[in-house]
């Protein structure tokens, strides 16, 4: 019986530990991916202003 209790406790602990590690990984990945996305969005308008050829042409005409 003591063996079965040990397996019972070890099993439940192991399953939750495995899932906990996966949860941690998903959270960390989502934070990193969201941060990368935010940086991209933040960079885009600046790039647009700097490198938009049509706007440059308009300015030349003026």
């Amino acid at each position: 019986m003591s063996n079965s209790i040990t397996i019972f406790v070890a099993g439940i602990t192991g399953v939750f530990l495995g899932m906990g590690l996966l949860w941690l990984f998903i959270k960390i990945t989502s934070i990193i991916v969201d941060r990368i996305d935010q940086d991209k969005v933040a960079d885009q308008p600046e790039q647009g202003k700097a490198g938009n050829p049509t706007e440059e042409k308009k300015e030349e005409k003026k």
Partner: protein
């Protein structure tokens, strides 16, 4: 002349028919009937039913060691641990982890539902089954056929056929077994809880998940490697988007082929000697207990999580933690819709549902580590 005919008759199977064999044929025919007429897990129950019949035909010798055709399928396909992991490859290619990655906390519901596995293990052992047999019976509660077969082959091959049939039968009965338990354990208000809108999952996250899961789970429970490695490889085929041919083959042709070679030899392991015993009735009863307990522990964990969480989880989602994919998720969706017609839980329920597959593989790996 008379003696010659008498001798000839003794060489036919008819001479060797016994009542036990007839009972086994009837069991095989019932499974085929359930598969065809009731659509209960037909992909597995039909070949298993046929396997039972042909393995119990006298003098056919299909399961005779080293000689029989079905014995070879069994030996090289199942005993050599090839077919269940290849099925996991196909399942991985079919699985979308998006709903799980979008709601990571739901992963714990897939763990919570494994409580039923261990509770049943404990009860089975207390009832007199040895530890290895009790583990094999307990894993039925995970509602994962290939994992049950994988574990039974290693720990209690004498229970393989019985546990596989119990697992697939109860998986087919999920829409009947789960709803009363779900309703009993939740209030109407709880069933009406609407989930917060999920965040959008990026492709990079979906590609990284199978890679990370492979490292995390196999490093934690090395014994689960055959199942987890193949499962995550199949998923990487799917999510990478660069091996469409492999992905397509894994989730269609390959999966169908191995399903044939899984069902028939499993049915063939059920001979009258092994199957017609009182303990088989206990195994089926314990299998049902395992399913019910898994549903209960999943719902209970969701309710416990709600005590500490600002964004409430619909506790019905806990029932999707058993890995009968996508049946359990559909059942959750249906029960939620009965309480509130506009409460669409299907995509949310797929999260714990696929987490349940991982959870059951981990549970099986832990049993193997401690009992093999």
């Amino acid at each position: 002349m008379h003696d010659l005919f008498a001798m000839l008759f003794t060489t036919t199977g008819f001479f060797h028919i016994t009542p036990q064999l007839c009972i086994m044929w009837a069991i095989g025919l019932i499974l085929i009937y359930l598969a065809i007429a009731k659509d209960y897990e037909p992909l597995l129950l039909l070949p298993i039913g046929f396997g039972i019949i042909i393995a119990n035909l006298p003098l056919a010798g299909l399961m005779e060691p080293d000689v029989g055709l079905l014995w070879k399928f069994y030996q090289y396909g199942i005993q050599w641990e090839i077919i269940p992991p290849v099925i996991f490859l196909g399942l991985g290619a079919l699985t979308d982890f998006g709903p799980l990655i979008a709601n990571p906390r739901l992963i714990f519901l897939g763990a919570g539902a494994q409580g039923g596995v261990y509770i049943t293990f404990f009860i089975a052992h207390a009832m007199g089954f040895d530890l290895r047999e009790a583990a094999t019976i307990g894993i039925i509660g995970g509602a994962d056929g290939p994992t049950t077969i994988f574990l039974a082959t290693k720990l209690a091959p004498q229970l393989l056929g019985t546990c596989a049939v119990a697992a697939y039968s109860y998986m087919a009965l999920v829409p009947i077994i789960q709803p009363p338990i779900m309703k009993m354990m939740t209030t109407l208000d709880e069933r009406k809880i609407r989930m917060k809108k999920s965040r959008k999952v990026k492709k990079l996250e979906k590609i990284l998940f199978p890679l990370a899961s492979t490292f995390v789970i196999i490093l934690l429970v090395p014994a689960s490697a055959p199942l987890m490695a193949m499962f995550m490889l199949g998923n990487l085929f799917r999510e990478s988007g660069v091996v469409e041919r492999l992905n397509h083959t894994a989730q269609n042709a390959l999966l169908n082929i191995v399903t044939i070679f899984l069902g028939v030899p499993i049915g063939a392991t059920m001979n009258a000697e092994n199957f017609l015993q009182p303990r088989v009735i206990f195994i089926f009863m314990l299998g049902l207990v395992a399913f019910m307990a898994s549903t209960m522990t999943g719902v209970l964990l969701a309710k416990i999580m709600n005590l500490f969480s600002k964004d409430k989880i619909n506790p019905l989602l806990g029932a999707a933690g058993v890995s009968a994919v996508p049946m359990a998720a559909r059942v959750v969706h249906k029960v939620a819709m009965e309480a509130d017609k506009k409460n669409y839980l299907l995509m949310y329920a797929m999260g714990p549902n696929v987490a349940g597959v991982i959870g059951t593989a981990i549970a099986a790996g832990i049993f193997l580590t401690m009992l093999q």
